[in-house]
Symmetry: C2
């Protein structure tokens, strides 16, 4: 079978996805049939002039989904029973009948949600966009062992509807972890498991704020959090951030708010730490006005210099701070698992809200995380990743100094998985992104974080997902492309 | 160590939970110390005069959470490293400082959510309340094999943020299954994975309806769906149901609605099937008014007599039916996993809404379900459960005839995991529930399903979680208690 595949280098679709899509549609259309042999990854990589790992990623996905299978000592073949075989009972004509009837109208929330740009999916050889973790260094052995233990240990829980608060063993492990490492003051009863911290924020905002009420976020700050609040019809104040974190005086001057979201340990995206003075001032505003503080502690596991900063929650004496954590950066983004530590008086209302919204978080994944934490593998993994990410951060800073000298201004960098980088290269931001893409370098403009974008081109550069070597080569290519 | 445990038979807390709580607090308070031996399940069951399986359930939970451990050939002991050990760094005084500051106010939605009664948790030896599956007959071997395959196969997906639409392999398997067994017309691209069908309904209502707009539900009908719509501030019409299902004429007379939810295959709770005439009439109303139909097909896998009914979705030519399915009854409630089949023109907006709400469903559990379906184990499990549940249904009908004769009126019973039973025993409903509880029989009044409760005491009786023998003994006890 001759494979007529090509990769569109100008397309925004990642290359492994292009290969996956091309092979899958060849199989579904019948051009490739059950038992047909498909090329080895090495041969296809040479044919398409792309990296072998890109081809492997596409093949892995096709195999995981049952389209292709490897035969030991022989090669790779189209599978005999395709996942779509069952679909043939549907009359294909029916699928193409144009819809009659009135168009479906969306709500005002729905119209805003539907207009949001989809997450960027293009695939770069040197991807400095600030998302993702080290893909080559996860402790799959320990993970697999945790899955095996949980598979047995979760049987009773799987037979019942889940607890809306979350799997108790996981809440116990989290309470212990955040008490020890983040000085969060809590019992397991105050921990609630959520499907990512974004769900936590959404549920809190529904639970506490009626449409038209006021909430506040940092400026610059995480766009998805602000958008989640704005699309609900809340009035959202964007409060400026300086080197000490959120300028509390400006929050206070803007009037009373029902909720304020802060990234106190490691401001997203500037990387600054909120000073103790500002923390106390924020807690005072909260006590005086009843404003709930949501402390999004999204990446504090990764601090490379200086004393670990305690959580804002640990300073609170008013029961007005919610601490939000996530496993997306410390473990695996695909878990889609986070947690809140709630003031005790909010726990039962929040659990009722979670129960009404989706009935609770799936159990199996929670049981696996509980095992992963109980065994100590979670802490070991974080320690290992901290060293690795620190090396990668150093590689990025060194490469930027090498490639750009004083024309690259690197922001605060004592922690996290990314840094803000301002480039003084006399080119428009969009042109920089385009030129970078041509040489295989992915850049993410930081402008969506700001109400008034910085005057110079500024990028939020992630270093977690690339090796130190890749970082060096990528920045060198970028510097040449912008010279 | 002498264990001073007792079980409160009047408490609403299930007995296994009482034992779990008592042992856990003994351990946490230090009354039981690491290495202390705890009684064998048989001994404790005799001491407390309860069933040994209740004690076992508590022990299993304690073991899963790391509080106790079994030593081979020796007995059961308090574990050396307690999950809570890390908590000791928190100053215990701090946890008990009363909160200062203003009280936290809830939104109007939050106040309603917080007032909902919690799910019933009491534990009966003969539990006929209509929830739960057969706890003794799950195919753990096949499940474990699916987990093992998925643990390897999901690696790439776990390293990335999830697709908000869901894991592709699972969507492919679902599309094939619903096409084959439910005549649902769809491609995998129209399938979206949700955290339970309740989340699906919540997201649809947010996506499509602004507060104050009109939605309709069946009367009697599933209370949680109605409450989810009402608490959002929607105007909810309760449309009566007769032997042919939703009375479409009454829906139409009540004005235009933006959304109507129906259980067409097996009406919840009456068990009737919507007639073809009514289906066509409902589709006509939908075409004329643009009303979206949400077809909640929550238990159609379990039909015992007659031809399987096709889905309403398969009859739709207007792109105005959403088909909702769940794995809570067909597989495991703890999965908390369901799916929607959406009209193609709603897919991208719904996926954007799901992405904005929680960023997608956790990957591992989806990968496991995909493996479970691809291997054929899902279908085998359903076939096996169908036989088992049919036997249990027959046992319930026979026991009711034996115990109550013509004084028990059993509703439609060709499918599902529960039946409506009207008891003509000249006692108040609440008194029946209380007398039943005294003899260990759990009953769930159906009145929360109705806008006007039935004139005679009516119960939604589940038969899935009890063996045929237990069903016989339970109904005999009930009949004697009410004689």
């Amino acid at each position: 079978v001759e494979l007529l595949l090509s990769v569109d280098r100008t397309s925004s679709a990642p290359r492994h996805r292009q290969i996956y899509d091309a092979l899958r549609s060849s199989i579904l259309s019948g051009r490739l049939r059950a038992g047909d042999r498909i090329p080895a990854t090495r041969a296809l990589a040479v044919q398409l002039a792309i990296s072998r790992s890109t081809v492997s990623e596409a093949y892995d996905q096709l195999q995981a989904e049952g389209y292709i299978q490897a035969k030991l000592g022989s090669g790779t073949y189209v599978a005999g029973n395709l996942p779509e075989d069952g679909l043939q009972v549907v009359d294909p004509k029916k699928l193409h009948v144009p819809h009659r009837g009135k168009p479906v109208q969306l709500s005002s929330w729905g119209r805003q949600a539907a207009q949001l740009p989809p997450s960027p999916t293009s695939d770069f050889q040197y991807d400095f966009r600030a998302h993702g973790i080290a893909r080559d260094s996860f402790c799959w052995g320990a993970w697999r062992a945790a899955v095996e233990r949980a598979t047995h240990g979760s049987r009773i829980s799987l037979l019942s509807y889940p607890s809306a608060a979350g799997h108790l063993a996981l809440r116990v492990a989290i309470a212990s972890h955040v008490a020890r490492y983040r000085a969060v003051s809590c019992t397991p009863d105050e921990v609630v498991i959520v499907n990512g911290s974004l769900q936590g924020l959404n549920l809190l905002s529904h639970l506490l704020l009626d449409s038209g009420q006021r909430a506040a976020v940092e400026d610059p700050g995480y766009p998805k959090a602000r958008i989640a609040l704005e699309t609900r019809g809340l009035q959202v104040t964007r409060v400026p951030v300086d080197a000490e974190g959120l300028i509390v005086e400006q929050l206070d001057r803007a009037g009373e708010h029902r909720l304020v979201m802060v990234t106190a340990s490691h401001q997203d995206p500037t990387g600054t730490t909120m000073s103790l003075g500002r923390r106390l001032a924020l807690l005072e505003v909260s006590e005086r006005t009843g404003c709930l503080i949501v402390e999004d502690d999204y990446d504090s596991e990764f601090r490379y210099e200086g004393r670990p900063v305690e959580s804002l929650q640990g300073l609170d004496r008013n029961g007005l701070v919610v601490y939000a954590g996530t496993f997306s950066k410390s473990v695996l983004p695909g878990l889609r698992m986070g947690f809140l530590v709630l003031p005790v008086r909010l726990v039962s209302a929040f659990v009722a809200a979670k129960s009404m919204w989706d009935g609770g978080t799936p159990v199996l994944e929670q049981a696996v995380m509980a095992e992963f934490m109980q065994s100590g593998d979670f802490e070991r993994h974080i320690r290992r990743m901290r060293r690795l990410y620190r090396e990668r951060r150093d590689a990025l800073v060194a490469a930027l100094a090498e490639g750009f000298g004083s024309r690259a201004l690197v922001g605060v960098r004592h922690g996290g998985l990314n840094v803000l980088v301002e480039l003084d290269v006399h080119r428009e931001e969009l042109e920089i992104v385009r030129r970078a893409a041509v040489v295989g370098v992915g850049l993410h403009s930081a402008s969506s974080y700001y109400s008034t974008p910085p005057s110079r081109p500024t990028f939020l550069m992630g270093f977690a997902a690339l090796s130190s070597d890749q970082i060096g080569v990528g920045i060198e290519k970028l510097a040449r492309a912008l010279a």
